[in-house]
Amino acid sequence: MTTSPAGAALPRSLTARRLWLHQARLPLSYVAAVAVSLGFVFPFVVMLTTAFKPADEVFTLPPSLLPETWRVENFSDAFASMPFWRYLSNSLIVAGGAVLGTVLASPLVAYSLSKIAWRGRGPLTFLVLATMMLPPQVTMIPIFLIWDRLGLTGTYLPLIVPAFFGTPFFIFLMRQFFLTLPNDLLDAARIDGASEWRIYRSIMLPLAKPAVATIALFQFLWSWTDFLNPLIYLNDQDAYTLSLGLYRFFSDHGVDWGPLMAASALFTAPALVIFLIGQRYFVEGIATQGFK
């Protein structure tokens, strides 16, 4: 408690200010949190309200927030002018395939880097980490040409197969997770003569379910939102994923803001659904699991 040589008046106002701050802390915290949330939510609100506006309300000044007439046809127009369900299922195929590859391969490699004491482990870990820094543009052209020579551009294989070889980021995440698991069970199983594969399958993987779920979710999102790779490899519009589908919608309709926002809302909806389903893993999984 500070005292002032000036006498009793100053400490009282200082205390008063401190008291006010302390009391205001809670409402101020709410204000801050709400302000931040509003900033992040606002674009979604605009997207939705514009999606329901007829064209003449979109192109008016000053911009109004809510539509006066709610035009649902923007959505049906969006549905009619593009094969939304096909794009959705295409995205699901690509994302699903990549998730499968990731879930199979990345923990496998991570196990090697964390639970098997072998000579090459250190250098290999370093190599995996170093690969994370590789800009995709360096390998993009030769990889495209390889797929082209194989005649597989235009299919989904270039988008899915790389996941089956492990992704450095997920390998690293799994490695960090495995490192936090004690080795007692492993050692006991090894003494009992169990094969390493059995140990991996029956002991490590079940224990690692949360982390595996996390990398599965991340890979899903990665593939779901990927734009560059589908742009390069997918030429047939029927094979487009959602990202390319919306991109094509813009090419077709340009600055037709109402239908464009409606299409954008449609394309956001699956991400929202996935988020609601996997929320547990998103917000808590990445934060806590990776740390333990």
Binding site: S29, A33, S37, F40, V41, F42, P43, V46, M47, V58, L61, P63, A105, L108, Y111, S112, K115, I116, W118, R119, G120, T131, M133, L134, P135, Q137, V138, T139, I141, P142, L145, I146, P162, F165, G166, F169, I171, F172, L173, Q176, L179, T180, N183, R190, Y200, T225, F227, Y247, F250, S251, G254, M261, F267, T268, A271, F275, F282, V283, G290, F291
Partner: protein, 331 residues
């Protein structure tokens, strides 16, 4: 910010970096040890084989090929023709290349620190003891999982100079309203704004890190009479510095290869290859793409990609080396 994801790895005090070795359950005679070591070597390689194979096929071979192509004039329909260092001399004289490099570096140097700062501030707000935290966290996180295409088109509308809401708000508070997407001076800030909106993932990671700071340290600091800023400087910042390092490195790498935001933001009628007003949105990522897939100059594009690669490695190395000064690992 960038296309790379965030990671939760970091230097929490509870993380062990070196696992104990597999205990020797076999007799410690030297042939036995050698056998055991060889067995572990085989196992290690076996489990890591998918990645090792992928490394060869998707990384080593392409890098070597890309290095070769960068010395050739390569139009995909004809055989690559060796031109030596021509691509690099052309690059040196190519205004658009330097422009793209400047734009890319600008986005990185300005964008990464600002995003991290914003992420940290938001994490601290989310860390306040209020009810309904999951809701706020979800709202902050949601934009970062929205497909980039959606985010860009929504912000194109928000940043429209004539009808956009951002300028409307700015006008109401009396601030000048820049032509976000038409003024070369404001297009990069527009790209950054979109990145800031998607900072939720980083924020959540920081939030977890903040929650991991031992409370005793704060209590000790309070007893010592430390105020808010002092506590931040001496307790919070050092503890979260490993995460910051990781985020900085990943953020820089992601930002240097940025592609989707500038490509989509600059998209125009018929989508002829453009780099935005006065090329202000041309980045190395989009320039490489244009050269490779719209101009069929795969040799030149490979050369630029290599330059990007080397610059990325250099910057990452600098950051990692400098990190010794400001990153505190728990002992």
């Amino acid at each position: 910010m960038g296309d790379a994801p965030r990671s939760a790895a970091g230097g929490s005090s509870r993380q062990r970096l070196e696992p104990p070795a597999v205990p020797a359950a076999r007799p410690t005679t030297r042939p036995g040890q050698r056998r055991a070591r060889r067995r572990r070597l085989r196992l290690g390689l076996a489990f890591a084989s998918p990645w090792i194979l992928g490394f060869g096929v998707f990384i080593v071979a392409p890098i070597a090929l890309s290095a070769y192509y960068s010395f050739t004039d390569f139009n995909i329909f004809q055989q690559p023709a060796w031109v030596g260092t021509d691509n690099f001399t052309t690059m040196f004289r190519d205004d658009r290349f330097w422009h793209a490099a400047y734009n890319t570096v600008y986005l990185t140097v300005v964008g990464v620190p600002l995003s991290l700062f914003l992420a940290l501030v938001i994490a601290m707000v989310l860390n306040l003891p209020i009810r309904g935290q999951p809701v706020y966290r979800a709202i902050v996180y949601l934009p970062s999982i929205v497909p980039m295409v959606v985010a860009v088109y929504v912000w194109r509308w928000l940043l429209n100079a004539q009808y956009g809401y951002v300028n409307d708000v700015l006008r109401r508070v009396g601030l000048p309203q820049p032509l976000w997407l038409d003024d070369p001076a404001w297009t990069k800030p527009a790209i950054l704004v979109i990145g800031f909106w998607m900072v939720g993932g980083t924020s959540i990671i920081y939030l977890a890190a903040l929650k991991n700071v031992p409370k005793e340290l704060y209590e000790a600091a309070t007893i010592d009479g430390a105020g808010f800023f002092a506590k931040f400087r001496h307790v919070t910042w050092p503890t979260i510095s490993p995460i910051t390092l990781f985020q900085v490195v990943m953020g820089v790498i992601g930002s240097l290869q940025i592609f989707a935001q500038p490509y989509l933001l600059a998209q125009k009628g018929f989508n002829s290859a453009v780099g935005g007003p006065a090329d202000s949105m041309l980045t190395l990522g989009t320039y490489i793409f244009q050269n490779a897939f719209a101009q069929f100059r795969m040799g030149y594009a490979s050369a630029i990609a290599w330059v990007l690669f080397l610059v990325t490695m250099a910057i990452a190395a600098v950051i990692l080396v400098s990190s010794r000064r400001w990153v505190h690992y728990d002992d």
